[in-house]
């Protein structure tokens, strides 16, 4: 997870130029849903705001945000065109025929690893598959001070990285139509074997089943984890707070499975409220905020990959290892939740953390893998049935 500023202070410059009074408010990502829900119900939404793709799906369905298809085209044309990955993630079809937000940044997880530790164990290169990662992890594990797999298995967004392992082994949450859950499959059993083996071998740090969003970061920053999946906040933190750890760390794309390698990139959008009385001004603001110079400064301070072709020229993508990784992700990544159909039912599956909960059923509740899969399949289908 990462902090998503709701609007950036720089928009004040635009306000000065246009002689408009812009009020900028940052809200914690953790509270976005509660806050925006209250604001929507109360009818006092901000004119423009940032949001993730899932939330945009929901708001688009209820027509609470304004279609911006024309603006999307104008901005693209003016800045060298949108990246392919941006176009894929902004397909109006996914939102019921129209596009409701202007993308401004891509984020995704990179695999952070303790190169200092792994080199000593004889591994110079980043693991390319989850099986390789498991092998390296077993060698490097040195409890109680050092645990290899700093991946969350708890009820937090970070734990949904497990979906990528599941997909790597060929598993799928639901069918292509996005109607029927397909958790109960041989591929899921293979994934479950991977994760439960790792757990049984004591590779996960204690607490991984109840970590909050900061759990994996804390484990890594305290030098107690070898691998974590992180969008970049850890890198920025240790650069300042623990240069020694930063030196021993390396970053690579997430590994893949025998069937598939995904590198999910999540698009972040800026949207305009349907209730706004100054929609044209708001559109103008979004256009201003997509300007090359503006975005270049912005990327220098944020942890995002670019969305526009011109955006790739921002100096930060050459200066920082992390940002180079994010650029790579923007160019070569896969859409969020690929190859599953990214719909509202899947969003609810994810907010209910059913994949990590399936793992918890085995490692915490000591249920059999079979029971865990069957129960999860049923819970998943109950969610999908609500969206029929």
């Amino acid at each position: 997870m990462k902090p998503t500023p709701c609007k950036r202070p720089e928009s004040k410059e635009w306000g000065k130029a246009k002689n408009v009074n812009v009020t900028v408010v940052m809200i914690n990502q953790n509270e976005t849903v509660a806050k925006v829900s209250a604001a929507i119900e109360a009818g006092n939404m901000p004119d423009a705001f940032d949001l993730g793709r899932d939330f945009m799906l929901q708001l688009a369905k209820n027509a609470r945000i304004e279609p911006v298809d024309d603006l999307y085209k104008t901005i693209g044309d003016a800045h060298g065109g949108w990246l392919d990955s941006t176009n894929k993630g902004s397909n109006p079809k996914d939102f019921g025929g129209k596009l409701y937000g202007i993308p401004f940044g891509q984020s995704g997880n990179l695999l952070n690893r303790r190169d200092d530790v792994l080199s000593k164990a004889g591994y110079k290169d980043a693991p390319k598959t989850w099986a390789e990662l498991l092998e390296q992890a077993k060698k490097a594990n040195a409890p109680p001070k050092l645990f290899s797999m700093g991946f969350a298995l708890s009820n937090v967004g970070d734990a949904n990285v497990q979906n990528e392992v599941l997909r790597g082994y060929g598993g799928r949450i639901a069918d292509d139509a996005g109607k029927k859950c397909t958790i109960d499959s041989p591929e899921t059993r293979e994934y479950m074997k991977w994760v439960t083996d790792a757990f049984a071998a004591g590779l996960f740090p204690p607490g991984a089943t109840t970590w909050d969003g900061a759990g994996d970061n804390n484990a890594y920053q305290s030098g107690q984890a070898v691998f974590i999946a992180n969008p970049g906040s850890v890198y920025l933190n240790i650069l300042k707070a623990d240069p020694e750890l930063a030196k021993g760390s390396k970053y690579s794309a997430l590994p893949g499975g025998p069937k598939l390698r995904t590198a999910p990139t999540g698009l972040n959008f800026r949207a305009i409220s349907a209730s706004s009385k100054v929609k044209d001004l708001a559109k103008d603001l979004l256009a201003f905020m997509s300007d090359d110079k503006y975005l270049s400064d912005y990327y220098g301070k944020a942890i995002y990959g670019p969305v526009l072709k011109n955006g790739m020229n921002a100096p930060i993508f050459k200066e920082s290892v992390l940002h180079a990784g994010l650029l790579d992700l923007a160019l070569n990544g896969t859409p969020a939740n690929f190859p599953d159909t990214d719909n509202l039912a899947l969003a609810e599956y994810n907010t209910n953390f059913l994949t990590p909960k399936m793992v918890q059923k085995v490692v915490v509740d000591k249920k059999s893998v079979e029971d865990a899969i069957k129960e999860t399949q049923a819970a998943c289908q109950a969610i999908y049935d609500k969206y029929k």
């Binding site: 829900s37 609470r64 109680p144």
Partner: protein, 306 residues
């Protein structure tokens, strides 16, 4: 203020009557009105609204809202999270309240003795309660940290060379949440009991001591009966607070691991994250019957005339 003037002349003429005066009625309603108006706006109306939407398919920002009868309840009752949260909420409330009752009475009895430093200890007891709840629970979460950064595991690793998963194992998660909640919640009980005990006439104890009654007998036959009303009120009131408590579970475990600490308010909060207001309300509404019973008892107790 015409009413008050007439009541003065009345008072001047003969012994005042305190019931059923017309002026009293008007004044009474006038005085209670500000609080009532606030609560009608801030509680009663939202409450009715919330109950209503629990029977609809309302999502955040929905333009069209359909009445769906008991569909939301049917879906929720069928989820594992709900079934576990019923059990967890009951277990947490029962264990926590029993601990607070027994230890609260014990601590209050000790503090009620003629011992040195009573005032200091009384102030000390209030300390956890004076601390903002979310601060207290963040602190406890940090103390329960499964690695050596946590206070308890720091000691365990140093002394026994082992660590415990206080918040992330099924066996320990609920007890750990209960201990932290006890720390934050017990002062209210101790102070209430202490206040009540100080109202008991010392002569009762002196007489009993002359009769040779043991400390336990004095507690059993003098202290307990004298404060039983307070015990009842405190227990019921605190039970409602505890059943409603959100921060303890949310901050420490988020309801995990695997629903081991999932309680009603946390489940309702998760419901909200999916923006399905109808469902989220249905979670809260489905615990209302229990509340209604508790609340009914408390209200009748509190409003009973002496």
């Amino acid at each position: 203020m015409a009413q008050s003037t007439s009541s003065r002349s009345l008072a001047g003429l003969k012994a005042p009557r305190f019931s059923l005066g017309k002026t009293d009625a008007a004044l009474g309603m006038g005085l209670v009105a500000p609080v009532l108006i606030c609560l009608m706006t801030l509680v009663v109306y939202p409450f009715i609204f919330a109950v209503y939407i629990s029977f609809t398919d309302r999502t955040v920002g929905a333009q069209v809202v359909n009445f769906v009868g008991f569909d939301n309840f049917r879906y929720i009752f069928g989820t594992q999270g709900f079934q576990e949260s019923v059990r967890n909420t009951l277990v947490m409330v029962f264990v926590l309240q029993s601990m607070k009752l027994v230890l609260g009475l014990g601590i209050a009895s000790v503090l009620n003795q003629a011992i040195r430093g009573r005032t200091v200890f009384r102030g000390l007891t209030l300390l956890p309660w004076a601390m903002p709840a979310f601060v207290a629970y963040l602190l406890w979460k940090y103390m329960f940290d499964p690695t050596q950064a946590g206070a308890f595991n720091m000691i365990l690793i140093d002394v026994f060379g082992t660590q415990l998963d206080f918040l992330s194992s099924r066996e320990l998660a609920m007890p750990s949440v209960i201990i932290a909640s006890f720390w934050r919640g017990f002062p209210f009980w101790v102070i209430s009991f202490l206040a009540a005990m100080q109202n008991i006439s010392p002569e009762l104890y002196e007489a009993a001591a002359i009769d040779g009654a043991s400390a336990w007998k004095r507690f059993r036959h003098i202290t307990l009966p004298s404060i039983q009303h307070v015990i009842l009120v405190v227990t019921l009131l605190s039970t409602i607070w505890t059943t409603n408590s959100f921060e303890n579970v949310w901050l420490m475990t988020g309801g995990g691991p695997s629903n081991a600490t999932m309680t009603f308010p946390v489940l309702a909060y998760y419901g909200l994250q999916t923006l399905r207001l109808g469902e989220a309300s249905a979670v809260s509404v489905s615990m209302l019957p229990i509340f209604a019973i508790l609340a009914f008892v408390v209200v009748n107790l509190l409003l009973k005339e002496d």
